[in-house]
């Protein structure tokens, strides 16, 4: 194969005395090719599994995983009172410690667990509770649909735990990271790191709540639920970078307030869909501008 290489004028000084070289190594990067670190980064000569590995990626699995854990740690402050209060409420609703642990382990969905034990305390039947759980969790289907294009290269071995441990917090954390620049073939390690730390800590928080359960009976009136809202506020505000997103937020918020008295939190789903529709309409009308809505210098705070 014969190829011709042209060097830009400003780099010609680098070619000085090239006549005296026997070889020249040319490193190139085809930026428009799809890239899969697993198969494309050949780390060893073929079939020489014992030889030293070479080559590498800008990011490693370990670095992605740890970055996912790190990004999630602040969110634990919001989840802590939520998990503890869940454990306490569950015990006080008459569910056994084992049943409470099982709910956190196998359902692992904060708001649905809360509503579930609330219904148990209110004497609702199991079919009603299960149906309510389904409706309350319907938004996870939207989360899965949003994440699916990013994880389609993964095997079932990955999709199963990633799907099982999906929560509001992990969803926003992962989707934000996928939208960032960088090699996205390893970002599922970030996603897993975020989900795992939330899962493990949720179990610990639940256990604390179970132990504390007999002491705190009116925990629901302490106002600690605000911890969750302030966490979500901190996650939401940086996402509002352009006009369509602002429209989505305003419409979702107004619709959610108007539909808040509807049963089973179905209003949450309606409001989310209304917000998405508003974002799409405004994007079609005005496009997506990347500049912030108001430069920080112009703010009046």
């Amino acid at each position: 194969m014969i190829s011709e290489h042209q060097v830009k004028l400003e780099y010609t000084s680098g070619l000085r005395e090239i006549d005296s070289f026997s070889h020249a190594l040319i490193i190139f990067f085809m930026h428009q090719l799809s890239f899969n670190a697993e198969s494309d980064l050949v780390r060893r000569p073929r079939r020489r599994v014992n030889s030293l590995s070479f080559g590498g990626s800008m990011s490693t699995r370990r670095a992605e995983f740890l970055a996912g854990v790190k990004a999630t740690i602040p969110l634990l402050i919001g989840a802590f009172p939520f998990g503890v209060i869940f454990g306490a409420l569950s015990i006080n609703a008459g569910i056994s410690p084992l049943g409470t642990v099982a709910l956190s382990l196998f359902v692992f969905a904060g708001s649905a667990q809360f509503i579930g034990v609330g219904l148990v305390a209110g004497g609702a039947s199991i079919p009603v509770i299960v149906l309510t759980t389904f409706v309350v969790n319907l938004r996870h289907a939207l989360y899965s649909a949003t994440l699916a294009p990013y994880v389609k290269h993964l095997s079932q071995r990955w999709l199963l735990p990633l799907g099982y441990m999906l929560t509001d917090e992990a969803f926003v954390t992962a989707v934000t990271h996928y939208a960032e620049a960088g090699d996205s073939t390893l970002k599922h390690w970030y996603f897993l790191g975020s989900e795992l730390v939330l899962f493990i800590c949720w179990q610990i928080f639940t256990l604390i709540g179970i132990v504390a359960g007999s002491q705190i009976k009116d925990a629901n009136n302490w106002g600690l639920d605000f911890a969750l809202y302030v966490t979500f506020t901190g996650m939401l505000v940086p996402l509002v970078k352009n006009r369509p997103t602002l429209a989505a937020v305003v419409v979702a918020a107004l619709t959610a307030v108007l539909t808040n008295t509807m049963p089973n939190k179905i209003g949450l789903l309606i409001a989310t869909l209304a917000g998405v529709a508003a974002g799409v309409i405004v994007e079609a009308r005005f496009g997506v501008e990347t500049e912030p809505l108001v430069a920080p210098e112009e703010s009046v705070l």
């Binding site: 901190g234 996650m235 989505a248 974002g279």
Partner: protein, 105 residues
């Protein structure tokens, strides 16, 4: 109350709205328009969770008075988040402001 049936039922329906969608949607190609629309899910769902909780703390009646600690602390936390873009700072200061306001009001 049959706790086994309760946990099994809740776990099953929760799993069914998470995992199958993740697998099915990743098997069929998603139109670009749908993909673009789904970018608005995170901000929309967060706003839909937060705002009603702040303006209707009891879940039923609208309370826009300055004595509503949820609303006042929520707005202040939003301003902190906007100015600092720091999640940890927003949570810690927002929570402190909320507890302070609740004690005062």
């Amino acid at each position: 109350m049959n706790e086994f049936a309760l946990v099994l039922g809740m776990a099953l329906v929760t799993f069914l709205v998470r995992y199958p969608v993740l697998v099915l949607v990743s098997k069929i190609p998603m139109p670009d328009r749908v993909f673009r629309a789904l970018r608005y899910v995170p901000p929309a769902v967060l706003a839909a969770i937060i705002v009603p909780s702040l303006v209707m703390p009891d879940g039923k009646t609208l309370d826009l008075a300055p004595t509503n600690a949820y609303l006042v602390a929520g707005i202040l936390a939003g301003l902190i988040a906007w100015r600092t873009k720091n999640l940890l700072l927003t949570i810690v200061i927002g929570m402190m402001l909320f507890l302070l306001l609740r004690a005062l009001i």
